[in-house]
Every structure is written in structure tokens, then in C-alpha cells.
């Protein structure tokens, strides 16, 4: 296994080297770096040109320049990185660190969301193949594949941000909007859940009534401006998550696992109750991460204690439940801070930049500010990736659902859940892993456009400015970050393969 990974790393390093050579030569030959000076009427033009030639080493041979860059990068292994300077003499390393952190934040969030939503949609559409739901999701996926991101981004700015900001100033739904939303929710859920006509009608009516009543209650409470969740809500959602995770992995008949999951949710809420004073006022990131680690360890321990014969499964389920509970707790705190946040920033969703300039709030308000800034640039890449993931998951699931071993599993009387989760989905995961890894690299490339449209100063801006000035150092820094990210993701995918399919461990 180790040998396999090492071999992959070696091959990837060679590929990266070749790609960097290609990229470097293409960049320095893509234009004339002195063009703007040649056209200027500055009296000290000659001197400026000589200065720039000196800085970019235009008089040296390309090979020497490449070697210089490469040895600078090689220095990263010994602790003194040197990614060169930009055309204006700014150190690229500092720029890259800043840019990479903001871009990777964007990409990681998109990727995680897209994996969860896309894979779930893919499985559902494969199970309900050729249903109305399947056709709707298929059409939606094709639509998002075909969407010019830069165009859709402008639409999103207008309809998701500006209109929402206008609306939140009042924060009330009109009655006909409520009816429409409730009807849509009812229609969607009956399409997903399926069944006989009568059952579908009952589902639709139930969902319609529930959503409509909830929205009217929210209106009455002025909930959208003063949202509340409360400890009861946290308990409800975490317990529901525990039940769902159990149902998907171990099955509800396995009472030990079910009770373990529910215990985790309850313990999580009690822990929230006790740590609330610490959390709500002015926590630090370190404290949050520490508490999260403690939460996961405690959850897994609960699983181990309850598990008995199903110990391994119980530990998995309680671990996942613990993670979900932690997120629900954070969501609860954030929601509770929303009205304060609105007081500080009356138009919450921004269309430009990665943080509000001169924003002055406490810890949770700052987190909310970051969240509302990252919201729009995340949505579009996520939707495009969801489209990709859902299509690949669907076709991969359909492939495995047609296999003999699935038929065997059904014929020996396994429940549909076991057939789908254990037999079909696990085998379908192998091609899905490939796509996720590839997509991550594509997302970083796509970030060039997202960042341009939403005014983020990330890797995309670094690349674009560099290329416009025929300045190799920032362009190569962009390549380095994206290339290494792509290689790392592929490596993760390889390791995941080896875990999923023992035949690959050569």
C-alpha cells in the first residue's frame, strides 16, 4: 500500500514538473511585458524599461529564468520559499498565501456541499429512474452544466442578493408567496417519495399544510428578522439526524445502534447547555475546534459503550451524529445572532468582496459576515458541481443496480435499504471518487471566473493580473497551488480506491 502511494506521488511529481515547464514557457511567450511602457510618453521611459527588464530578467534565457523559479520553489522543502516577485516588485509568496486561503475556503465549501447534495440526488434519481423527479433533476443538471457562470452570477447578484436585501428590510412573506412555496414543496416531496396516487396526494397535502402553517407562524413571530431555534430545536434536529443516519447505515431494527445515536444527540444537547456561556459570547477558533474534537471523541465513545455486538457500526453512527449535532449547535448560535447582525449590516448579503470593509462586530457577527460574503460565490460553483456529481452518481448507481450481485442480494431477501446502501452504493462509489477528485481541480480553475465576477482577491485575480502583465511569477504561483491541489486530490482518490476496492492494492 505504501509502495503504491509512493509510486503515485513520484509519477505526480514528474507530471507537475512537466506541466510547470509548459506553463512557464507559454506564459513568458504570451505577450510583451514591456508593451505599456513602449507606448507611454514618460520622459524616463528607457530607465523604467531597463528596470523592468532587470526585475523580470528579460535578458536572460528562458531556461535560466525557469531554473531560477524552480530552485526558488525547491527552497520550500528546506524552509525558505521564494516564488519570485511580481512585475511591480511585490513578493509573490505573501500574495499567494493570502489568495490561496480565500480561494481554498470558497472551493472547499463548494466541494463539500456539492458532494453531499450531488451524491444524494444521484442515488435518489437512480432509484426512481424515469420518474417525474428523475426527469426534473436530469433537466436541472443539464441546465446547470450549460450555464455560463459569468452570466448566471450577475443574475444571482440581482435576484438572490439585491432582492433579498430589499425583502429582509421588511421580512414578511405575502400570503400568495406562502401558498406557492408550500405547493412547490408538496409537489417536490411527493415526486421524491413516490408511491401510489393516493399516497402521493396524501404526502403532497401533508407537506403543503405543514409548510404553509410554519410560514404563517414565522410571519407572525417576525422570524426572518429575529430567527430563533432554541435548545428544543437543536435536540429535535440532532435526534432526527441520528435516526436518519441509523436508518441509512445499520437499519432501525438494530436497536442498540439507534439508542446509541439518540444518546449522542441528548448528550450533545446537554453539553451545549453547559458550555453555552463559553460559546455564545466571545469564543476563539481554538476553543471551537477543541470542543468539536471533544464532541467527536465523546460520541465515538458512546457508540463503543452502547455498541455490543454492533460496536463498529454504532461507533460510526454515533460519530456522524456527533458531528451533525455539533454543526446544529453552531447553526443555533449563528441563528440567534442574526438579528444583532442585521442591526450592524442592514443589507446582509453582499455582492462584492470577501469581507465587509470596516466591519466591526463580535466573534459570531464576524462569522456571519464571512458567511454572507461567501454565500453567493459558493452557490454557482456548487450548483455546477452538483449537476456533475448527480449525473455520474446516477449512471454509476444504475450500472451497479443492474449487476448480478444486486439481484442476488434482493433474491436472498435483504431489505431494499441494505441492497442499495451496502451492495449497490458501495460499488458505485469507485467511479464517483474519480469524478470528485477531477472536479476539485476544475473548480479551482473555475474560481478565476467566480472571483472576477464577485470581486474576490484570490488565486483567480492573481492569475488574471499576472497574465495581463505577462508576469510569470504570479501565474506560476497560481499553477503551483492548483496543480498541487489537483495532485493531492487525485492521491486521496487513489487511497480511497484502495480502501474501496482491494483489487487495486497492487
Amino acid at each position: 500500500m505504501l509502495k503504491f502511494i509512493l509510486r503515485r506521488i513520484g509519477a505526480s511529481a514528474l507530471v507537475l514538473l512537466g506541466a510547470s515547464l509548459l506553463m512557464f514557457f507559454l506564459t513568458i511567450n504570451s505577450g510583451d511585458p514591456l508593451k505599456d511602457l513602449r507606448e507611454s510618453n514618460d520622459p524616463n521611459r528607457e530607465q523604467l524599461m531597463a528596470e523592468r527588464s532587470e526585475r523580470l530578467r528579460l535578458d536572460d534565457s528562458p531556461w535560466e529564468r525557469y531554473w531560477d523559479w524552480l530552485s526558488g520553489v525547491g527552497g520550500c522543502f528546506t524552509g525558505n520559499c521564494d516564488l519570485g516577485v511580481t512585475i511591480n516588485g511585490i513578493d509573490v509568496l505573501g500574495l499567494t498565501q493570502q489568495a490561496a486561503s480565500s480561494t481554498l475556503r470558497l472551493i472547499t465549501l463548494s466541494t463539500l456541499l456539492a458532494i453531499v447534495v450531488g451524491v444524494a440526488l444521484g442515488i435518489l434519481t437512480a432509484i426512481r429512474q424515469y420518474s417525474g423527479f428523475d426527469y426534473t433533476v436530469t433537466f436541472g443538471a443539464f441546465l446547470f452544466f450549460s450555464l455560463p457562470v459569468f452570466w448566471a452570477a450577475t443574475l444571482l447578484k440581482e435576484f438572490a442578493a439585491i432582492q433579498y436585501n430589499n425583502w429582509i428590510a421588511v421580512g414578511q412573506y405575502a400570503p400568495w408567496t406562502i401558498v406557492l412555496v408550500a405547493a412547490l414543496a408538496g409537489f417536490l416531496l411527493q415526486a421524491v417519495l413516490g408511491g401510489s396516487t393516493r399516497r402521493r396526494l396524501a404526502t403532497a397535502a401533508g407537506v403543503f399544510a405543514f409548510v404553509a402553517v410554519m410560514l404563517f407562524v414565522f410571519n407572525a413571530l417576525d422570524w426572518w428578522r429575529n430567527p430563533m431555534f432554541g435548545i428544543g430545536g437543536v435536540l429535535l434536529v440532532s435526534a432526527a439526524a441520528g435516526v436518519l443516519v441509523t436508518a441509512l447505515t445499520a437499519g432501525l431494527r438494530n436497536r442498540r445502534v439507534l439508542y446509541a445515536a439518540l444518546t449522542t444527540a441528548v448528550v450533545g444537547v446537554i453539553a451545549y447547555w453547559f458550555t453555552a456561556p463559553l460559546l455564545v459570547d466571545e469564543p476563539t477558533w481554538l476553543l471551537l475546534i477543541g470542543l468539536f474534537v471533544v464532541a467527536v471523541v465523546v460520541s465515538v465513545a458512546i457508540g463503543a459503550a452502547w455498541g455490543g455486538y454492533a460496536r463498529k457500526q454504532a461507533m460510526l453512527v454515533t460519530g456522524i451524529t456527533g458531528v451533525i449535532t455539533s454543526f446544529v449547535v453552531v447553526a443555533d448560535i449563528l441563528i440567534a445572532h442574526w438579528s444583532d447582525f442585521l442591526g450592524l449590516k442592514s443589507r446582509p448579503i453582499s455582492t462584492i468582496g470577501s469581507q465587509t470593509p470596516n466591519f466591526d462586530g463580535e466573534f459570531w457577527e464576524r462569522v456571519l459576515d464571512m458567511g454572507t460574503q461567501i454565500l453567493l460565490p459558493t452557490i454557482l460553483p456548487t450548483l455546477v458541481s452538483v449537476a456533475t456529481h448527480s449525473r455520474y452518481t446516477r449512471s454509476s448507481m444504475l450500472e451497479t443496480l443492474n449487476q448480478d450481485y444486486v439481484r442476488t442480494a434482493r433474491s436472498k431477501g435483504l431489505s431494499e435499504r441494505e441492497v442499495i446502501v451496502k451492495h449497490a452504493f458501495r460499488n458505485a462509489l469507485i467511479p464517483i471518487t474519480t469524478i470528485v477528485a477531477f472536479d476539485f481541480a476544475a473548480l479551482i480553475g473555475g474560481a478565476i471566473i467566480t472571483e472576477e465576477v464577485f470581486g474576490w482577491t484570490g488565486m483567480g485575480a492573481l492569475f488574471q493580473d499576472g497574465l495581463n502583465a505577462v508576469d510569470p511569477a504570479p501565474v506560476m504561483a497560481f499553477f503551483l497551488v492548483t496543480g498541487i491541489a489537483a495532485v493531492l486530490m487525485n492521491l486521496l482518490a487513489d487511497i480511497a480506491y484502495a480502501a474501496l476496492d482491494p483489487r487495486i492494492r497492487r
Binding site: 506553463m23 443539464f142 459569468f150 452570466w151 480553475g445
Partner: protein, 332 residues
């Protein structure tokens, strides 16, 4: 790792391939022409089966008709090069503005800030975008097929070199390498741009074709051809590639939709089509700030891109279903 994605364990048992390779490739074009003799059971060639399955796919058929209309309108309305079209207005002339230039009967897409007819401008952008997309599709298909077929058939060092080369192109984000090349080729007009974009979008097809060829070259009909001393070139062109035609056609279709999005994105960023040429991406870039005041300047080019890419994707899906008999859509 790609071996897993591309190879198809057990798939060989299912595919009802015609073992006389070479006859089925042309069948698609000839589909439907050979009427069955009276009194005989109806039987179809592989190509006819594919055509039948494709035309039964309603989404793909609709998409094909819509795309046809878009192409015909884009090329006939303002004409191509010296040939004039049926649309009376010219995209270079500035006309008197009616009101603030909102769409009217005389100017169905409205007028831009200077009074130019926006329908003619959008049609010109559509023409250029379509030309680039199809040229990129053809170039990348040819390059990808050749590289994939050579790597898959000859194996050995050639495969190692070609596939590492593919990896090198894959590791650079597509948009980044396309932007650098597009900037270099921008001055040489749309054909130069189409050429360089074609040179960077072949990678996925090369991998797919290689995977397909790897499994085909072990088939009996290839062994038989080798046994009678057929040359390698002839085996590749007459026996192997015709059997991989499904993968190639589907991938070519999808590369057209990739190309149209790539080209418009590059033009939007300013690395693609340069003035005086125009494309749908340049139009959006030019008028994106007009969204709140003159929304029609923003909507039309975007909707054109969306329509073309959507149609191409649906056609690709229809072709994939048609070439893959295991995924029977209709229950017959």
C-alpha cells in the same frame, strides 16, 4: 486509476457488436435508407438501431431541432462574409434610437447604447461562437482519437509517453491554459483561437478512446485480422475505431458544449475573441453593467449561450443512450 473508470468488466458479454467491423460505422449515416424486403422479418443494422433509439429520445430530438433553428437563423439572418442575409439591418451601423432602445418590432432584441441593432450583433456573436465551438469540437476529437488510439493499440513506451503528456495537460486547469493560449492567439482571429482551444480540450477523449481500444484490441476479430497479416494502420482504422465510434461521437458532442462555454468564458475575461471580432462572451462582458438599466442587452447573449449548450448536451445524452443498448429507455 483511469483504467477503472474506462474499462468495463463484464461488459463484453452484453454488447451485441457486429463482428464484421467497419460496416456498422457508416450505418448511422445510411440509417433508414435500406428498406426491409417484403416477406422478411424486419432486421436492422447497428447504425439503424442507433438512429431509431436516438430519434425516440424526445429530449434529444427537440434539442436537435432547436439547435438547427438557431444555427440556420444565425447564419442566414445577417449572412456570412460577402453573402448578404435576409435581416435588413447591419450590425455595424448606428440607427436612430427608439426610446431607450428597448425591444420593439423593428428591433426585436432592442438596441445598444449607441443605437446599433442588437439582434444583428447577437447573431454575429452567435455565428462566431458556433464556428469556434464546432472547430474546437472537430480538432479536439481528431487529436484525442489519434492519441488515444495510438496509446491504446501500441501500448509500451508510446502509451507511457502519450498518457503522461495527457496528464500534464490535465494537471493545468483548463481555463488557465486556455487563457494563456487564447491570449497568444487572440490577434490571429477566431480561427487561431479555435485551433489553440482544440489543442487543450482533447484530454478526456484521449483517455476514453484509449480505454476502449485497450479492450477492443483483445477481441477475436482483431486477432483474426492480425493473423491474416493486416497492417496495424488498417486494423486501427477499419476494425478498432469503427467499434469505438459511439464513445467518440458522444464525446465529440460534449466537447462542443465544453468549447462554447470555454470560449465565452475566455472572451468574457478578455483572453478570447478580440475586437473587431465579437462573440457571445464579449457581448456579455461589454454590457454586464447595463443589467439594471438595459436588461435586454444582458439577457439575449446569455440565453443564446444557454440554449446552444443545453441543446448540445441533450443531443449528447440522446446519442449516449442510443449507442448503449444496455440502457434501454423505452420498454419494448
Amino acid at each position: 486509476m483511469n483504467d477503472i473508470r474506462n474499462s468495463n468488466p463484464g461488459g463484453e458479454d452484453y454488447e451485441p457488436q457486429v463482428s464484421v467491423a467497419g460496416t456498422d460505422a457508416v450505418g448511422l449515416a445510411a440509417g433508414g435508407s435500406a428498406a426491409p424486403l417484403p416477406g422478411e422479418d424486419k432486421s436492422y443494422s447497428q447504425g439503424q438501431l442507433v438512429a431509431r433509439r436516438f430519434f425516440r429520445h424526445r429530449g434529444a430530438l427537440t434539442a436537435m431541432i432547436v439547435l438547427g433553428i438557431v444555427i440556420v437563423v444565425a447564419f442566414t439572418s445577417i449572412g456570412v462574409g460577402p453573402i448578404p442575409g435576409w435581416w435588413p439591418k447591419d450590425y455595424t451601423l448606428q440607427y436612430d434610437k427608439i426610446g431607450d432602445g428597448a425591444p420593439t418590432w423593428a428591433y426585436p432584441f432592442g438596441q445598444d447604447t449607441g443605437g446599433k441593432d442588437y439582434f444583428a450583433l447577437v447573431m454575429r456573436g452567435t455565428q462566431f461562437s458556433i464556428i469556434i465551438a464546432f472547430a474546437v469540437g472537430i480538432i479536439s476529437t481528431v487529436v484525442g482519437t489519434v492519441i488515444g488510439a495510438l496509446a491504446g493499440f501500441y501500448r509500451g513506451w508510446l502509451e507511457a509517453v502519450l498518457m503522461r503528456m495527457t496528464d500534464v495537460f490535465i494537471v493545468i486547469p483548463l481555463l488557465a491554459v486556455a487563457a494563456v493560449l487564447g491570449r497568444m492567439a487572440g490577434e490571429s482571429g477566431i480561427w487561431g483561437l479555435a485551433f489553440v482551444l482544440g489543442l487543450v480540450t482533447w484530454t478526456s477523449l484521449a483517455r476514453l478512446v484509449r480505454g476502449e481500444v485497450l479492450s477492443l484490441r483483445e477481441r477475436d476479430f482483431v486477432l483474426a485480422a492480425q493473423a491474416v497479416g493486416t497492417s496495424a494502420w488498417r486494423i486501427i482504422t477499419r476494425h478498432v475505431l469503427p467499434n469505438a465510434i459511439g464513445v467518440v461521437i458522444v464525446s465529440a458532442t460534449l466537447s462542443i458544449s465544453t468549447a462554447i462555454l470555454l470560449e465565452t468564458s475566455l472572451s468574457f475575461l478578455g483572453f478570447g475573441v478580440q475586437a473587431p471580432d465579437t462573440s457571445l462572451g464579449t457581448l456579455i462582458n461589454e454590457y454586464q453593467s447595463a443589467f439594471s438599466t438595459r436588461p435586454w442587452l444582458f439577457w439575449w447573449p446569455g440565453l443564446m449561450i444557454l440554449t446552444i449548450a443545453l441543446c448540445v448536451n441533450f443531443i449528447g445524452d440522446g446519442l449516449r443512450d442510443a449507442f448503449d443498448p444496455r440502457q434501454n429507455r423505452t420498454k419494448d
